[in-house]
Symmetry: D2
Subunit: 386 residues, 4 copies
C-alpha cells in the first residue's frame, strides 16, 4: 500500500523532523521511539510500512530542506549524523516539494493544490495521499455565510474575497482531489459544515485538531487522576515558554487565544467544572525548538485540606510532534483504505481539541484508538471497529 | 448494614483523620471530597452508609483521641471547628478504643485481639467488622517455616517465639474472628500462604498493600502516559521529604527499603523496563504531616532527542489517606456481604503494591474498580462482577 | 522617642499584619522574625523601640480592623491566638483610624489629611509621625505640568482637576504637615520634582519605591551571582500568581505594567544587559494572601554551554511585607531625628525600584544600610553616615 | 610571565574542558564567558595572559585527550567545531601529559612527580607552574601521626606505608618542586599541618577546597538573603543527581560523605544555626556531565507564618568548573609572583569549603577577591592587598 504524505508547511521544523525521521526509519538508521503505531498493541499489517511512505508538500518559504535539517541538528533537535547520512534521500524529497500557490482567486489556488496532489500521486504511483497541515497556527477565522453550505462555498471561492482561511482552503483542495486530511494545528481546517459535506460527498475521512505533544498531554492524565480520586481542583495555572517560529507566531494575541482555549478545554471537560487560573504562552526566542511549560495545580482533599502540585515539562516540540504526524498519516491512510469516512473521532488520543471530543482522558482515548486499530487489522467490509 | 471499622494504630494521624472525617460526614458537617466511593460512578446501595459506620481500634500509645485531633488541627490537617463540633462523638469513639495486647505468647495476644473484635461487634450490634492496618510501617519480616502452613503456624504461635510480625498477627486474629482485613501499609499483613489459607477456610476477603496517596499516585498516571506515547524513559529519580511519625519511622533503613521497593515497582511493571534512578525517603521533622516529593524524569523522544519532566507534590498524607481508609472499609464490607473471599485484586486502584498486581496503570485500575462496584450494586448470588 | 506610624490603606492585609505584629512585639507575644532592624548588626538606640510606636491611618473602606485580622487568621496569615490576645489593643488602634478624605478639591483633601496627621501627633504626644503608603497599586500617573513646580502645583491643587494621583497627594499632605513619607508601593508617591522641592523646603526625608518581598528579592541575589561568575543570562522569564486584593488590582493591565517594569529593572541594571523574557502577574483568587512565583533562567557558561535554573517561591506577601513596614518607619524616623532630608537612598535594600537606584545587588544594598544605621547609632550633628 | 598549569587528573572531564577552553581562548575562537578573571572589575596586567599559559598534567588513565574531547563534544559539553579546530594544539598538550607515577614508596612517587614538574618548567621555559588537583574525590583520609610534623612526614614517606592520600602526596611533591598548589576537589590536599609547614618553608601559596560550581553556589547567595531579611530557615534539603565519572565516584559512601559535609557547611556558618534537612548525592549514569540539583527550603516569616522556596539547577559541571580552574591558576600564579605565601583565603569565592573560611557569603567573598586582585594589579613589595 504505497502511501503519500503531503505536508502543508513542508519546510517547517515539525515537517522537516517528520521527513528526516521517516527516511531514517525507512533506512533502518533509527528506532521507532515516539511512534505510537509501532507499539506492540497497535502495529500490524493494515498500516502502510515505513518503506511504503513517500513524502512531499508545499511551503511558502523556499529554504532548502537540507539547510533546515542542518539547522535542526545544530539546535540539538536532530542528530547530525542522520542528516549527513540521509543527504541523498533529502534531495529526493526536495524535488517533491512545491511552492504554495499564490495569486488569483481562492478557487484558482485550490485548483493549483489539487493539481500538485494529483501529479504527486501519479508520478509516484501512490494508492493514496494523506494531506497533513503542519503550518503555523492561523488567527481565528472570520465567519462567512458560505462556510455553512458547499454550493455557496464553491460559488464564493470563485469570487475576489478570501472566503476561507488557508488551512480550510487546503482541506477543500485535499477533499476535492480525493485525499484524506489531518489538521495537526488548532487552525480551522476541515471544521466547517461545507467541508464536512464535501468530505461526505467524496467518501473521505479526516482528523484533528491540534497535536497534543506537551503540557496538554500531561494535563490529560493528571486531570483524570484528580477526578478519579475525587479531589477538588481549585486552580490550574500554566505558562508555556517557547522559541522558534511557532513561539513567534503565538506571540500574536489572535493565534495565542485559539491555542490557549484549546489547552484549557481538557480541564473543564474532564473535571466537570472549570478551576480558576489561565494558561499563558510567551515567546522566548532563545529557547529555540525546546519548550518549557510550568503548571501549578492547587487542590483540596478530605475535609478541605489544601495541597498543591507543580510540574515542569522541558520538551522538544518537533521531536514530540514528528512521530505523531507519521502515526496520523498511517492511521488515516489505513482508515481510508478500510472505507472509513467523516471525522475519525477514535484518533482523539493525538489531539488537544479532538473532533467530536469523545473524551479528554488519555486512558480512554487510548482504548478508543486500540479498538480502532484492532478493527483495521481484522479488516472487513467497512473497516469499522466491531 | 451496620459496619464496624477497627483501626490498628487507632491514635495515629491517618486513623484520627479517618475517625474525625467519618464523624463529620455522618453529622453532615463536611462533604465527601477525596472519597472515591462517593463519586457518581461508584456510589450506591451496596455500600454501607456513613451513618452505619461504627469506629474502634487498638493502639500501643494512650494519647486521648481528642488531643491527637487538636494537634492535627493546629498542624493544619483538620479544621479546628470540626474538632470542636465533634468533641462528644470523639469521646464516644474513645470509649471503643482498646490498648494493643501485650505480653504472653503470640497466640495469647491473638486471642485478646479476637475477644476485642467480638466484643466490639456484639456491643454495637454490627453485621461485620473490617479490620484496617494503619500502623507505622514494619521492617521486612523475618522468614519462618510456619509462614507457609496454617497448621504449623497455629502450633508455632503457641510457643515462645515471635513467629509473625505484628501486622500478620493482626491479620491472623482478624480472620480467626471472622473479620475481613485491609492492609494500608507496606507491612507483611496477610501476605503469607498460611494466612491466605486461613482466609479461604473462613470465607473472608482481604485487600492491600500500601495506600497510594502521593508520589506513586502521580507515577501511576505518568508512567502509562510515557508508555502509551512510546517515549523511552531513561531515568526516574525521586525524593520524598516527610515529617511526622511516619517520616521518623521511615528514616529507619529497614522500613525505608520496604517502602522504596513498593514505590518503584510501578515503573518496571508499567514501562516494561526499569529506568535508571532511585527513590529516596528522608525525614524532615519540620514538615509535619505534609510531605513534599520531587521527581525528575528524563526521557528520549523521536530520533533520540533528550527531554525531561519534573514534578513537585506537596500533599498532606493523612488527608489523602483517610478517605481511602473509609472507601476501602466500605468496599471490603460490601464485598464480604456479597460473598467474596480471598484477595480483592479489583481494589488495586488504592494501593502502591496491589495484591496479585493486575496492573499498575491507574486508568486500568479504575476500570477494574468500577466493574467490581457495578457488580456489587447489581447484587446476585456470589457478588462477583460478571 | 515616641513615633507615630500613619498607614495609608490601614485596613488592608499588609497594614493589618503590620499593626497586629507591632502590637504583638510590644506585648512580648512574638519574636522579631522578619524584622531587619532587630538583627544584631542593626539594632540599637537610635531606632524607636516597639514600645514607643503608635499606629493610626486612613482607609477608603470601613471594615473593622478586628474583622480583617480574624479573616487573616482564618487564611493562615496570622496566628489566631495573637488576634484573640490583642483584641483590646486592636480596638484602641481602631479608634485612631480615620476615613480617607473625599469630596472637594485636591487641596481640600490634602488639608483634611494634614489635620488628621496633626491631630494624631498632638493627641498621642508624638515626636514625629512617619506616613507609609500601603494602598493598592495605582495606574501610572497622568503627566501634568504642575508636577514639575511646587508653586504651580499649589495653585493647581486648588482648582477642579485631579492633578495628583492619590499617593502623591498623600505625600504632599505628609510633607506639608512636617511628616517623613515612605512609599511601599510602585505608585508615584513622592517621585515628582515639585514634591522633592517641598520635602527639601520642609527638611524632610522620604523613601521608596515598592517593597521587595518575594520574586524580586530572590532576583536581587541571583542576578549578581550570575554577573559575578561571568555567566551569560540568555533569558529570564517569570510568572507571579497571586490572589487577594492586590492580585485583583494587578489584573488591571495599567497597574500590572507599573509593577512588571519595577520587577524587571533589577536584571538590566545588575547584569548590564537585558536578557530575553518577561514577568507576568496573574490573579488567582483561590491563592489568597499567598503568592507563588516561578522563574526560569537560561544561561550560557564556558564555551557557550547552555544551562538553566528555575525556582518557585511560595510566600505570604503580607507576612513578608509587614515587618519591613515597621523597619522602614523606624529607620525613617531615626533618619529624620538625625536631620536627614531628601531621598533615603541607603534604604534601597527594602525596595524593588529604589530612589536614585544606587545598586540593585542585595549584598551592596545591605552594606549601604548597615553603614547608614551605624551612622545613626553613632549620632552626631547631621546624622549622616561618615 | 609564562605560566604552566599542571593538572592532576588531566584526562578527566574538567581538565579536558579546561584545556580545550584555554586553547580556544588563546586562539581567539571563543569569548571568556564564565571566566571571573576576565570581568572588567578584575582583569589587568598582574594576571598571566591566556597566550602565556602552557598546559600539562598527570593521569592514571591513558585515553588520548582528543578522544576525551570528542566524547565531551558528543555529550554537548564542548562545541564540536572547537575540538576539530584545535586538533593540532590538543596533540601538543597530549605530548606534555605524563602517566601518574606508580610503584615504589610514596617518596619514590613524590620524587617522580617533582621530576615531571621540573622537566615541564624547564622544557617550556616557564616562570612558574601551578599544580591544580582536578582528580576524582578521595575518601576521607586515614589519620596518621606524621601528618602533623614535616620531619616525621619525610621519614614516613620513605617507608612502606601509604601515609598520605594521593591529593596530599601531590601537594607534597608540588611544594617540594617549588610549585603553588590548588585543590579543586574536597580531598585532603594541602590541609595537613606538615604540608602547611612545607609551603611556609618554601614560600609558596596554596588554595582550596572544592570548587563551588552549582547547588552550593546558589546556596551561598540564598542563605545570606534569608539571614539579611531575618527570616528563620526551618529546613533545607537537597538532592544532587549526576552522571559521569564524578557521579559514579560519589556513589561511594565515603567520598559522598566528604562532599555532603562540604555542601551543608555554608548553611550553618551563614545562618548561625543549622536547619533541618540533608543533602543527597545520587548517581544517575544517563545524566552524563550534566547535573540536576533540587533544593527545598522551608522558612518562617513574621509571626511564624510558614513559607517555602524550591529551586532546580541544571548545570554542566565541567563547563562551570573549567573557567574557574583557569581563574585559580592565573590568580595563584599572580599571588606567587607577588610574594604571597600560605593559604590564599581571599580565593574563598571559588570554593565550597574555603581555607580558613573567612565567610560563606558570595557577596563578601567577592569583595575579598576584588581587593586581592586590586592589590596584585597595584603591585608592591609583598603583593598583599592594602
Amino acid at each position: 500500500m504505497r502511501t503519500g504524505i503531503w505536508l502543508m508547511g513542508a519546510r517547517g521544523s515539525v515537517a522537516t523532523t517528520s521527513i528526516v525521521g521517516a527516511l531514517a526509519l525507512r533506512a533502518g538508521l533509527t528506532g521507532p521511539t515516539g511512534c505510537v503505531t509501532e507499539l506492540p498493541e497497535l502495529r500490524g499489517p493494515a498500516l502502510p510500512a515505513f518503506a511504503d511512505l513517500v513524502l512531499g508538500g508545499h511551503d511558502v518559504v523556499a529554504t532548502p530542506l537540507i539547510k533546515r535539517a542542518e539547522a535542526l541538528a545544530t539546535a540539538g533537535v536532530l542528530p547530525g549524523r542522520l542528516v549527513d547520512a540521509l543527504a541523498g534521500e533529502l534531495a529526493e524529497v526536495e524535488r517533491a516539494l512545491r511552492p504554495a500557490p499564490a495569486g488569483g482567486t481562492q478557487a484558482d489556488r485550490a485548483g493549483a493544490v489539487e493539481r500538485d496532489l494529483t501529479d504527486f500521486r501519479d508520478r509516484h504511483g501512490l494508492d493514496r495521499v494523506v494531506v497533513v497541515n503542519v503550518c503555523a497556527t492561523e488567527p481565528a477565522a472570520v465567519p462567512h455565510p458560505a462556510h455553512a453550505d458547499l454550493v455557496a462555498l464553491r460559488a464564493a471561492l470563485a469570487g475576489p474575497d478570501e472566503v476561507l482561511p488557508p488551512s480550510s482552503l487546503y482541506a477543500y483542495a485535499a477533499f476535492t482531489a480525493g485525499c484524506p486530511y489531518v489538521d495537526f494545528t488548532p487552525s480551522t481546517g476541515a471544521r466547517l459544515p461545507a467541508l464536512a459535506a464535501l468530505a461526505a460527498e467524496r467518501g473521505l475521512p479526516y482528523a484533528g485538531h491540534d497535536g497534543k505533544t506537551g503540557e496538554t498531554l500531561v494535563k490529560s492524565v493528571l486531570a483524570p487522576m484528580f477526578a478519579m480520586r475525587h479531589l477538588a481542583v481549585r486552580s490550574w495555572s500554566g505558562v508555556n515558554l517557547l522559541g522558534g517560529g511557532d513561539g513567534a507566531n503565538l506571540a500574536d494575541p489572535a493565534a495565542n487565544a485559539a491555542k490557549v482555549a484549546s489547552k484549557q478545554r481538557v480541564l473543564g471537560e474532564t473535571l466537570g467544572y472549570v478551576p480558576q487560573g489561565d494558561t499563558r504562552i510567551d515567546h522566548v526566542e532563545e529557547l529555540g525548538d525546546f519548550k518549557t511549560a510550568w503548571d501549578l495545580v492547587t487542590f483540596a482533599g478530605f475535609l478541605g485540606t489544601g495541597m498543591r502540585m507543580e510540574f515542569t515539562w522541558h520538551g522538544c516540540d518537533s521531536a514530540l510532534a514528528a512521530p505523531l504526524v507519521l502515526d496520523l498519516a498511517r492511521l488515516t491512510a489505513a482508515a481510508h483504505a478500510a472505507g472509513r469516512r467523516g471525522p475519525l473521532r477514535e484518533l482523539a488520543f493525538f489531539f488537544k481539541d479532538p473532533l467530536d471530543a469523545p473524551t479528554h482522558s488519555l486512558a480512554e482515548q487510548w482504548a478508543l484508538l486500540r479498538d480502532l486499530v484492532a478493527g483495521l487489522h481484522r479488516g472487513g467490509a467497512d473497516g469499522q471497529p466491531r
